[in-house]
Amino acid sequence: MSTSSDPAIATAATAPTHETAVVLPANLHARPAGQLARAAADFTSAIQLEYADRTVNPTGVLAVMGLGATAGSTVTVRAEGDDAEQAVTALAQILAAAE
């Protein structure tokens, strides 16, 4: 293994990343999953939702529902890209407002 810096890794390291954790006020069921998927599609950043050691792309509405995330548990929103902060803010708001 070479120890020299890899340009691809260096580029990735400079892309803005953002992350926040949300404690769910309600179960992450179908309606908020649909809202998350539609909101996530509006951003260019790569977005992930993490719950209980599982990670899904929130643009996949079925995958988000399949997490089975329940009220009181924590979901982490992570994004990497130019609009990472906006993406995380938008998705965290949907998660925090789930009824």
């Binding site: 179908a30 599609a41 996949g60 509405v61 079925l62 399949g66």
Partner: protein, 130 residues
């Protein structure tokens, strides 16, 4: 943004198709062009060539149409319609009916193109429910 992809739900049962429509409008969007072709012309369980053809025509906004059949003769009827009225931008997609419809409508609502919407419906087969 280009024209939205249209979605057609083909079912043996008008009630099943109508119920699925209500569900996907709640989860996804009520702005995506969506039509149902459920049951026979006289309201029995079965499928109708004319209902399928009219449904496809009614949701075609120029962005293409994804046709989702529930099973069996829904597939055969939809195929016959497309053989008689071939159109490269109308696709029958092999997908689970409920999950495929939800994925297709959510994806179409975000402005995705025909292939992306069709792929989202197809991939629904591989997403675990829990």
């Amino acid at each position: 943004m280009s024209a939205s992809v249209g979605i057609v739900l083909v079912s043996h049962s008008a009630e099943l198709a109508a119920g699925l429509r209500l569900l996907v409008e709640q989860i996804g969007s009520d702005t995506v062009p969506l039509a149902t072709a459920g049951g026979t012309d006289d309201g029995r369980i079965g499928t109708s060539y004319d209902l399928v053809l009219n449904a496809i025509r009614s949701v075609d906004r120029g962005g293409g149409v994804v046709v989702l059949p529930d099973l069996g003769s829904s597939v055969l009827t939809a195929r016959t319609v497309l053989e008689d009225h071939p159109h490269p931008d109308v696709l029958i997609v092999d997908a689970p009916f409920v999950e495929g419809a939800v994925a297709a409508v959510v994806t179409a609502a975000s402005g995705a193109d025909l292939k992306t919407v069709a792929d989202a419906a197809k991939e629904a087969r591989h997403v675990h429910k829990f």
